[in-house]
Amino acid sequence: MSSWTIVTGVIGSDTHIVGNRIIAIALEQAGFRVVSLGALTPAEEFIKAAVETAADAILVSSLYGQGELDCRGFRDMCIEAGLNDILLYVGGNLVVGKHDWSSVERQFLEMGFNRAYPPGTKPSDFIPQLVQDLETRDKLLGRD
């Protein structure tokens, strides 16, 4: 596996660090280079870190329910910062309350995330997909 760089963190005023830290551990064990921003990370910091480390993907965690407010415009901010081809994943308890997952997913895909993951996702549930998406992207960009 080529050594991709992944930025992780929990967005907004959200302090739920446990799942995010487990993701970071799992990504490292899987051979990624991980830039772990931790809890309570403003959107801007994700983008700054991605630019500085030439990251391949940003994994945004949001657990506390206010993710739909915090994640607005995230893709636009990436583009503004020149991150044109960056892969954006989001996961956690993305909205307030219990909602039909497919509508929540649609909402975040429309916001520009490449993939969104529901509560209860484990690293092993998404890392294979991440690898595949990165490989596809690298091929498209002629980077393999």
């Binding site: 302090t15 446990v18 487990i22 506390y64 206010q66 308890n93 307030v96 309350g97 219990k98």
Partner: protein
């Protein structure tokens, strides 16, 4: 505010300085102007007894009752009032909450304002709680008026100063939070020092009310990150937070403990916590401090299966009652997914109440296993607290700050940079939470060995090595579907 250059000490804030601090604080957002202490005191004195949390808790304690209290807050006053009425009428809650939203908790009142407006427009809550500061005293007083229960503020934050001023002035009679616990579990960059300062303010404010004859139920949240917190760590932090609060003049200080879901350990933790806390208070010369225990439904990751979640809820009521906790704070079958609907929240309350009824006649303190576990927990807590106090050279605050820095006071899975988070918990076979890695937590060697042995037994039984993987597995443990349990029939099928 005392400038952060002065080194932090565990001393009561002098009243003149405190009054200056209050003025400063109240001017930070327009609604601060609505706070008037005389009016506030009058407002509390007009409350009927059953709406004064301090009295209700004392009464329940004396009569060996276990009260129920939900969590809950929605983004607009209207939604919130509807929620509270449901929790009172359908949920039969004894105590009512007002959870603030995360913007309010971080004093981002501008964002909170926007969230409230958008919730109003969307007709659903976009905030994870009620922005009480934006609402101000008069609006918050409507909450107190609209229900017939005492109200407690639930605001997991290191920045309670304005939120407390507004809500206490509005007639809220309970306030949850503390400097060490919340800083360690809710923040990344806030220093423990700053967190303690902010709660010194809150506790001084509560003392101000006390001097005017208004007793507020203060409460400490030792659940911390809620993620496999060993009782000894929770209790050590609770005691230290308690010493800080009583130094500011607080006399009624409840202690919360998250349930481990191991019955023996849960009962032992509750008993040990109350006894140890009184022991240290006496040692510091504090008498007549009331420190009842609140037990919390499992604070870690919940299962998605609602029937399975119900088991945690019922257990929570049952064990709280069996352990003699004065109240239990409830969750719902929606816990794994999102903030519960008011109906799910109410159902969680009722199931808890029914669980309390079933557990009330069971006094587990005398059980040999419980006695042993109490003894173990007490020795662990003393090792941590005594070392912390020793490091303070006579000042509890300095002891805490140094102990955190040294990892003597450590919290598993903490987001805070000042907390080492080296201690790594895992479960032994019987379910008790032990420490796989003690980091620098100064627990005596023979107890460390006992933990290791217990965990090794489990590793051996499972045929896996003792490693961080086991600890991570345990973070998910309780949330795993029942299909992941060992299946007796399959085992039998495989034999021979």
């Amino acid at each position: 505010m005392t400038s952060s250059n002065d080194s932090l000490r565990n001393e009561p804030i002098p009243w003149d300085i405190f009054h200056e601090m209050r003025e400063n604080n109240l001017s930070r957002w327009p609604t601060g102007a609505g706070v008037d202490l005389d009016a506030a005191v009058e407002c509390h004195q007009r409350l009927p007894k059953q709406k004064r949390m301090a009295q209700v808790i004392r009464f329940a304690y004396e009569h060996h009752r276990t009260l129920t209290q939900p969590r809950g807050g929605f983004g607009t006053l209207g939604m919130h009032l509807e929620l509270l009425r449901t929790l009172q009428d359908e949920g039969l809650a004894d105590l009512l909450p007002t959870t603030t939203d995360s913007y309010t908790r971080n004093e981002r009142f501008g964002e909170a304002e926007r969230g409230m407006q958008e919730s109003e427009q969307a007709g659903r809550s976009m905030l994870n709680g009620l922005p009480v500061v934006n609402l101000g005293v008069t609006e918050c007083a409507k909450i107190v008026d609209s229900v017939d229960r005492p109200l407690i503020v639930l605001s997991g934050t290191t920045m309670p100063r304005l939120t407390a001023e507004i809500t206490l002035a509005a007639g809220f009679s309970g306030y949850l939070g503390s400097g060490i616990a919340y800083t360690a579990s809710y923040t990344k960059d806030t220093s423990i020092e700053q967190g303690i300062r902010n709660y010194q303010y809150l506790d001084r404010l509560v003392t101000l009310y006390g001097q005017r004859g208004v007793e507020i139920h203060r409460r400490q949240p030792s659940f911390l990150t809620g993620t496999l917190i060993p009782p000894a760590i929770a209790i050590a932090v609770a005691i230290l937070d308690c010493l800080l609060a009583v130094t500011q003049g607080v006399t009624h200080y409840g202690l919360e403990l998250g349930q481990c879901l191991c019955p023996v350990q849960d009962v032992a933790a509750i008993r040990a916590c109350e006894e140890l806390c009184q022991e240290y208070l006496t040692m510091f010369g504090f008498h007549n401090i009331f420190t009842p225990i609140t037990s919390l439904h499992w604070m870690g990751a919940w299962p998605h299966d609602e029937a399975q979640a119900m088991a945690l809820i019922v257990y929570g009521g049952f064990i709280a009652a069996a352990a003699g906790a004065v109240s239990v704070t409830t969750k719902s079958t929606h816990e794994a997914i999102g903030i519960p609907t008011k109906e799910a929240n109410a159902a969680g309350l009722r199931a808890t109440k029914a669980g309390i009824q079933l557990g009330a006649s069971l006094a587990l303190q005398g059980l040999r296993d419980v006695v042993d576990e109490i003894d173990l927990i007490k020795r662990e807590v003393r090792d941590i607290v005594d070392k912390t106090l020793e490091m303070g050279d006579g000042d509890v605050c300095q002891g805490v700050l140094r102990a955190c820095r040294a990892g003597v006071l450590d919290v598993p899975w903490s987001p805070n940079r000042e907390i080492q988070s080296r201690v790594l918990p895992a479960r032994e076979l019987g379910g008790a939470i032990r420490m796989l890695d003690f980091g620098n937590v100064p627990i005596r060697r023979e107890i460390q060995q006992f933990h290791q042995e217990q965990l090794q037994k489990r590793a051996t039984a499972m045929g896996t090595p003792l490693s961080i993987d086991m600890a991570i597995q345990d973070v998910y443990g309780i949330s795993e579907p029942l299909t992941a349990l060992p299946n007796t029939l399959i085992e039998l099928g495989q034999i021979g």
